[in-house]
């Protein structure tokens, strides 16, 4: 536990009867970080968050916040605060009373407290809403009040349990940017639970991808997207094309892989991976599509064009390869305004990609 880790989770497990909701999780979270727990429903991310807040106790392992073990500390004494999924705004209090709720024991005078509440209202851009009843607020407004209510206590860590899930798309995108900016200006560590991978990628400094109670990978958004360490992570984040292959040889950082329908391909590797069975993974946007056979390319394969979709700024293609039952997804930016070439199905096309574009994953 170095000084920079505000939270250390050591071998924490949580069992409900026979079910292991959280399975031997080890995580270190840095001060001032925007850290996301990402995974599908039921992967244990909310349970882990609730253990940080002490609404559940770990069955095994220990949680340290700022160096202090938390197993004996009640939720009302922890230096963390939580924003709940449905905001949990007190319906019988107005906005001011909601925000000031946790400050009863803070020993502030009435004027000091009022000033602080006003500060908070400014921060969430709801000045003048103080006297509004909680039930008169819209979803987005409630969410901001829940935020202010937690942040006024100046916790060391703020826990957010899928707070944007109930908002419509435009509002959600706006709130994502606002939350990110808020976190940066306030400097508090945020721990954010979500099942929406785009949301996690947009907002986080680092993301922990979870599945079935285990943490699979913890990385920055870019490294997570470009260098997933297993098939689940590669598939969960964005779209990925997978091919079974066999690693034949490695020389000078280039691996030669026999990738079945793709033929023999070159992949750039950082360390020396063991020879044998692998899964070749390539992102759709890393594949270049051409209507004539390329003269010089490190990797190429010929296929026939399947369905395509025009999305305005980009186009999605599906290319059928002989010997591969799944069509290969290709995404390309529509860089030219009046592009030539037509996209009728069954047309012969060529796909090319660089060795750097290939990710090699273990075969499971």
């Amino acid at each position: 536990m170095t000084n920079n880790h505000i939270i250390s989770i050591h071998d924490v497990s949580k069992r409900f009867g026979q079910v292991r909701a959280v399975n031997e999780v080890n995580l270190d979270i840095q001060r001032g970080e925007f850290f996301s727990l990402l995974g599908p429903s039921g992967c244990g991310k909310t349970t882990l968050l609730r253990m940080l807040a002490c609404f559940e106790a770990p069955t095994d392992g220990e949680i340290y916040i700022d160096g202090q073990p938390m197993s004996t500390v009640m939720p009302n004494h922890r230096p963390v605060n939580m924003v709940f999924q449905n905001y949990a705004i007190f319906p019988h209090l107005d906005v001011r009373a909601n925000i000031a709720y946790g400050m009863r024991k803070a020993g502030l005078s009435k004027t000091e407290l009022n000033a602080r509440v006003d500060e908070m209202l400014d921060m969430i851009k709801l000045s003048g809403y103080g006297a509004r009843g909680a039930t008169e607020l819209s979803g987005g407004e409630r969410q901001r009040v829940a935020l202010a209510r937690a942040l006024i206590k100046q916790p060391k860590v703020l826990l957010l349990d899928e707070p944007l899930g109930a908002l419509d798309k435009k509002l959600r995108e706006q709130m994502q940017l606002e939350l990110r900016a808020l976190q940066k200006s306030v400097g508090i560590t945020f721990i954010f639970v979500t099942h929406d991978q785009e949301e996690a990628l947009t907002m986080s400094d680092r993301i922990a991808v979870m599945s079935a109670g285990k943490v699979l990978q913890v990385e920055s958004p870019m490294r997570l997207y470009e260098s997933p360490n297993c098939r689940f992570v590669a598939d969960f984040i964005g779209t990925m094309n997978f091919f079974d292959g066999a690693l034949r040889d490695v020389a000078d950082g280039i691996a030669l892989v026999d990738a079945g329908p793709l033929g023999e391909i070159k992949a750039r590797v950082e360390s020396d991976p063991p020879l044998g069975e692998v899964v070749v993974a390539i992102r759709p946007e890393k594949l270049r599509i051409a209507f004539e056979a390329p003269s010089d390319a490190a990797n190429m394969v010929e296929g026939s064009l399947g369905p395509s979709a025009y999305l305005g700024d980009r186009s999605h293609f599906y290319v059928n390869l002989p010997g591969h039952d799944q069509p290969v997804a290709v995404a390309s930016q529509n860089v030219e305004r009046l592009a030539s070439g037509t996209f009728e199905a069954s047309r012969t096309v060529w796909l090319t990609w660089t060795p750097e574009a290939v990710v090699l994953l273990p075969r499971e």
């Binding site: 807040a53 609404f55 009640m74 939720p75 009302n76 004494h77 963390v80 605060n81 939580m82 709940f84 999924q85 449905n86 905001y87 949990a88 705004i89 007190f90 319906p91 019988h92 709720y101 946790g102 009863r104 024991k105 909680a134 039930t135 819209s138 979803g139 409630r142 969410q143 209510r149 937690a150 206590k153 899930g165 109930a166 908002l167 419509d168």
Partner: protein
């Protein structure tokens, strides 16, 4: 020719009319017998028979001047109020346990608490009387109150379960998260939100106890409750109209109380937080 030409509207309309007629008949069946009470309480005759003889308030006067009746009324109110408060407390605690904790054997516990509602009143009355004799407790308003509690606690619990389930479990967690302990959370969050339910429970249990006859009959000592008093007066024809007057008053009071209880319960349910959007 005409029914076919009328088109799609006709059969639907006939169906709705049938339902309306049924509804009216149903209400008549339930309420008309009861409405005879106030009707004959104003009738200037000691016989409950048509034709009506004339309007009089004499029976109401007689009722107000009868000491036995006043005593019985006072007993009923005292027993009712005590039973209401205590069974609401127990019902609330039970409801909190059922809705807020992962209780092993929860279904069985709830079923057990609800059991008195399905046991016939006479059986309960006799059983409790035997128990009182066995234990050596003298019959009094106290034993009546205890008997009533067996029946009112399940109702109180049901009302409070519906109230507590209606509001967000996260609210109490949020309060804890913000620094309050269990006790202060109860007073700052749970209690204010539960008040509509508490009032509904108090009114409902009071009404049940006030109206209850069978258990009171078995468990009464020298002090009687109002239903027992009324029953004892029915042997005297001259006393009957005063009893009808009393019945009409009780009917009106019950109606007002139950309406209040329902209004409070509904007001409480609206306060429940809608999720997010």
């Amino acid at each position: 020719m005409s029914t076919i030409a009328m088109g799609r509207g006709a059969p639907g309309k006939r169906w709705v009319n049938g339902l309306a007629v049924y509804a009216v008949l149903y209400l008549v069946f339930i309420y008309v017998p009861v409405l005879f009470l106030p009707l004959f309480s104003f009738n200037d005759s000691i016989y409950v028979a048509f034709p009506l003889k004339g309007f009089t308030l004499a029976w109401y006067g007689k009722m107000a001047n009868s000491p036995g009746l006043i005593a019985a009324l006072s007993n009923s109110v005292r027993v009712g109020a005590t039973v209401a408060v205590i069974s609401t407390i127990f019902g609330t605690l039970a409801a909190k346990a059922v809705t807020r904790y992962r209780l092993p054997g929860r279904g069985a516990t709830v079923g057990f608490i609800m059991l008195p509602l399905v046991i016939p009143g006479i059986i309960m009355g006799i059983a409790l009387l035997l128990l009182a004799n066995f234990v050596g407790v003298k019959l009094s308003l106290f034993t009546i109150g205890l008997g009533h509690m067996l029946v009112t606690v399940p109702f109180a619990m049901l009302v409070m379960i519906s109230r507590l389930e209606g509001f967000d479990k996260n609210l109490e967690e949020a309060s804890l998260d913000l620094g309050e302990n269990g006790w202060t959370t109860f007073w700052r969050v749970t209690f204010p939100l539960a008040i509509p339910g508490l009032i509904a429970s108090l009114l409902l249990t009071f009404t049940i106890s006030f109206d209850e006859f069978i258990l009171a009959f078995f468990l009464a000592g020298t002090d009687v409750t109002l239903p027992i008093y009324i029953w004892s007066q029915l042997r005297f024809p001259a006393k009957l109209p005063s009893v009808l007057a009393l019945g009409a008053c009780i009917l009106a009071a019950s109606f007002v109380l139950v309406t209040f209880a329902e209004w409070f319960r509904r007001r409480g349910v609206q306060v429940k937080t809608t999720s997010g959007v």
